[in-house]
Symmetry: C2
Subunit: 305 residues, 2 copies
């Protein structure tokens, strides 16, 4: 079948595909099509089960059109809500938040959960689920406007701007009972501020390290790895890396529950929609610096009438 791209998802993991280095997935070859989740319209089909006009979730990448044999493609129900949500709160980022927080973070009512990139596609969902589980939730974001959104619209208990000079002290004040779960997707200075506040038996689901993705060498010393290990030991902390692609057997359970939360207003969701594929590279670079506000999606084309 021939697919026309309607929406293209931009996500931090793509930065890794641009390095010629061993990772959990092969890098994109020079001249290859850049990886991405997409929402596409079927505009021609010789495949049983797919008809012209169907809308599908695909991984067809940064391009206007793609041929597909149906592998790793899933039909979407256009009546179920905005189609682009399949790239965000009802798709990979939402599933990442759900799985990492609940399976690895195991938040208990009354515990303190800290969420980095709190206004983003993953962080915003992590914090809202943690609130549903009865936790005190502290967000971290990169502007006062984002922080206001995180507390006022998403209902986090508080949100701190990591660019403030006294961020570490503010985080300590915001977490008087320490931190039980830190959902890690940024690394860098935020993690350095979190580490001394982690409680005994804290859990750290680790799904991203955006602060380091552009690094071409290790940071200057001293070597803080032994300090990290010492904290893990004396405070019996669990750090567990996860890649959401390993967990798709559990996707239906997530989809059902998250759809319900969206319908009843328990979870809110914000998109940062960019027009046209041409704008994708600049928007992607901006995301790595935190210039997006909400889940970054490129609107590539209109759906046919």
């Amino acid at each position: 079948m021939l697919l026309k791209t309607l929406y293209l998802s931009l996500d931090p993991y793509m930065r890794g595909r641009m390095n010629d280095a061993a990772s959990y997935a092969e890098p994109v070859a020079i001249g290859g099509v850049m990886t991405a989740g997409t929402v596409c319209e079927v505009i021609d089909s010789n495949l049983e089960g797919y008809s012209v006009g169907d809308v599908v979730l695909a991984g067809s990448g940064w391009q206007d059109y793609a041929l597909s044999d149906g592998e790793a493609v899933r039909k979407l129900d256009p009546s179920a809500g905005p189609l682009s949500y399949a790239l965000g709160v009802l798709g990979m980022p939402g599933f990442t938040a759900y799985t990492g927080l609940l399976q690895i973070g195991q938040p208990k009512a009354g515990e303190t959960v800290v969420v980095a990139a709190a206004s983003g596609a993953v962080g915003s969902v992590v914090g809202q689920i943690a609130k549903l589980k009865g936790c005190r939730v502290v967000g971290v974001a990169g502007s006062s406007e984002k922080c206001a959104y995180v507390t006022d619209d998403l209902g986090f208990d508080t949100c701190l701007n990591y660019k403030d000079a006294d961020f570490a002290a503010r985080l300590a004040s915001a977490c008087p009972d320490g931190i039980d779960v830190y959902f890690e997707n940024v690394g860098g200075a935020v993690f350095q501020a979190v580490l001394p506040l982690l409680n005994v038996w804290a859990r750290v689901p680790l799904c991203g390290l955006i602060a380091h993705y552009n690094a071409t060498s290790l940071p200057d010393g001293p070597d803080k790895a032994p300090l990290l290990m010492r904290n893990l030991l004396t405070k019996r902390i669990t750090i567990r890396g996860f890649i959401i692609f390993d967990h798709y057997a559990d996707f239906p359970v997530f989809f059902e529950e998250m759809s319900g939360w969206l319908r009843d207003g328990s979870v809110r969701y914000r998109e940062d929609m960019v027009e046209s594929l041409v704008a994708a590279p600049e928007a992607f670079m901006g995301m790595l610096e935190g210039r997006n506000f909400g889940k970054l999606v490129v609107k590539v084309a209109e759906r046919s009438d």
Copy 2:
């Protein structure tokens, strides 16, 4: 009751009690009695259930005699084997090995398990249990004599000397299928060599960092913490610190199973016995440099006839 110390256990964790720094336990005060597990004889008793001549496991520390109200004391059965084993393979170090390997490491038959300090009180038991579970077991120790003991007497598949200049390359050769479980109790250069070999979904139980215990500042750079985190992420690794004192509810299960393994010869055990309490400080310092060979125990006094 009045206790006379027969055997005193020397263990790496004691180094942490000598730092005036926050940890999982209070440091020993200047002029206080240094912490230690002990095997003691009751030489006078006003406590119900304890009679003169009973032998108990106590935590009475580096001293010849101690008063006890019976708290945190357990009676030992002198007919069950060498009394000092209660400080090693049948006590805290053995239980550390058992719990960390089985609960956190979760070794599966055919997997590769790497064990640091492989001839020591904990490592020797970790590796032997991993062999019982059908794993390929690679030990790391600090001399060719220790390595020979680890392979010939304990039955590890191989053992490498971390002091060899090409240790990292040898470790890579010894682990052609990578490393699934690394039982971490040393840190430092051994961990640096292990990290790039860890497989996807590897587990790292972390119960000690002996290479860092004497450090008064962080090592020079570069800062390897981001490299560690990147490995945890892309390879979905779990690192979990644990302190065995949290797990004593499970001690009876361990004691039963380990006693059986000792009786049927599945697990072998070696002690490095030092005579007299006066020798304890020098022996302790030597242990931090790997000069002991087997579980380090001080014989403080003879049992009464």
